[in-house]
């Protein structure tokens, strides 16, 4: 399913000045969507933080830098075009996840952890 974002203008900049009016409803002229993953510090894993539009990978990384790391959130950025992400179907949640519900013995909660272990 394709969704389109329409830009609305306000203020004193006429539409023909912004360049934004060039975007059309034609999906070919829309920039693809990218998913952004940020590593907040060395040693931690990259976490999904959101998505953005960009024309290519380079621009996606720069956009991610400007949109998602303005407040020192990250030391490394991954981007991947959203279309390459394959997701499980929510309608299959029953067969996928419910079988685990009654198997509490798989949780490590039955062990007494020594006090010295604090990163569990």
């Amino acid at each position: 399913m394709n969704t389109y974002i329409r830009k609305f203008y306000y203020g004193d900049i006429p539409e023909d000045k912004t360049g934004g009016n060039i975007t059309s409803m034609d999906s070919k002229s829309d920039w693809p969507l990218w998913e952004v993953f940020i590593r907040s510090k060395q040693g931690l894993d990259h976490k999904h933080v959101g998505s953005l539009h960009a024309a290519d990978a380079q621009m996606a990384i720069e956009n991610a830098r400007d949109v998602y790391t303005r407040r020192m959130e990250g030391v490394s950025i991954w981007v991947v075009e959203s279309k390459y992400i394959h997701a499980s179907n929510p309608e299959e949640a029953g067969e996928l996840y419910e079988p685990a519900v009654d198997k509490v013995y798989r949780h490590p909660t039955f062990y007494d952890l020594p006090d010295e272990v604090n990163q569990m």
Binding site: Y9, H53, A55, N63
Partner: protein, 263 residues
Amino acid sequence: MNDSLIQYTLHLADNSLILGQRNGEWCGHGPVLEQDIAITNISLDLIGQARNFYQYAARLINENATKVSPTGGDLERATEDTLAYLRKEREFKNLLLVEQPNGDWGQSILRQFFFSQFQYLLFEQLQNSKDEQIAAIAEKSLKEITYHLRWSSEWVIRLGDGTEESHKRMVKAVDELWRYTGEMFEGASYELRAASDGVGANLSTLEASWLDKVKDIFNEASLPIPEKVFMQTGGKEGRHTEHLGYILTELQYMQRAYPNSEW
């Protein structure tokens, strides 16, 4: 006390402030959300640089003033705010380039590219300035500028080498802005003095490297380098295009209407 150092510092501050203000006009109007944030981020970087230079200039002015008038009394003390908000058009020493109107996105990008490329080379030299404060500000700003340069170069290539429409707009932008690039390398009296004191940069050596870099990017962007263009000058000495007055009217409105107001 060295008056040309004050003027030189104000010149560097004004460049960053005025371009920061110009870029800030894009806030809420960028072609896409991500680029809106990118250019306003650059604005904030520039205004940050301006603050550093204004604070230093204010310190120099105040040190200078107390020497001239040791009685003190009602001496008006300069601050970063009085320098940004209470000086008149003729007192601003920014380049004509940075006060030019935003035009379309391509024109704003190109203005940023011309300026960032210049600032990059300039601050590279200023890092070694004999004036420790200027050297420190230059060193701190250089990381930001490296990113501004990368971002704006890529956009110049993307638009110049893009569609027929984007190419046409970039050629028009070059035509519009090229005449303001010569001023960057023509030293005002305070710049020459600062350079001979080892405080400022040697502008004549910057020109060739600037042109080389711009040629590289224009080549990739399939944009022609204009030749034999008459260069507009005067901004560094306070003679501005008609645009600066409007910028200052907006920028200084609050302090003029409500003197000494604070957030």
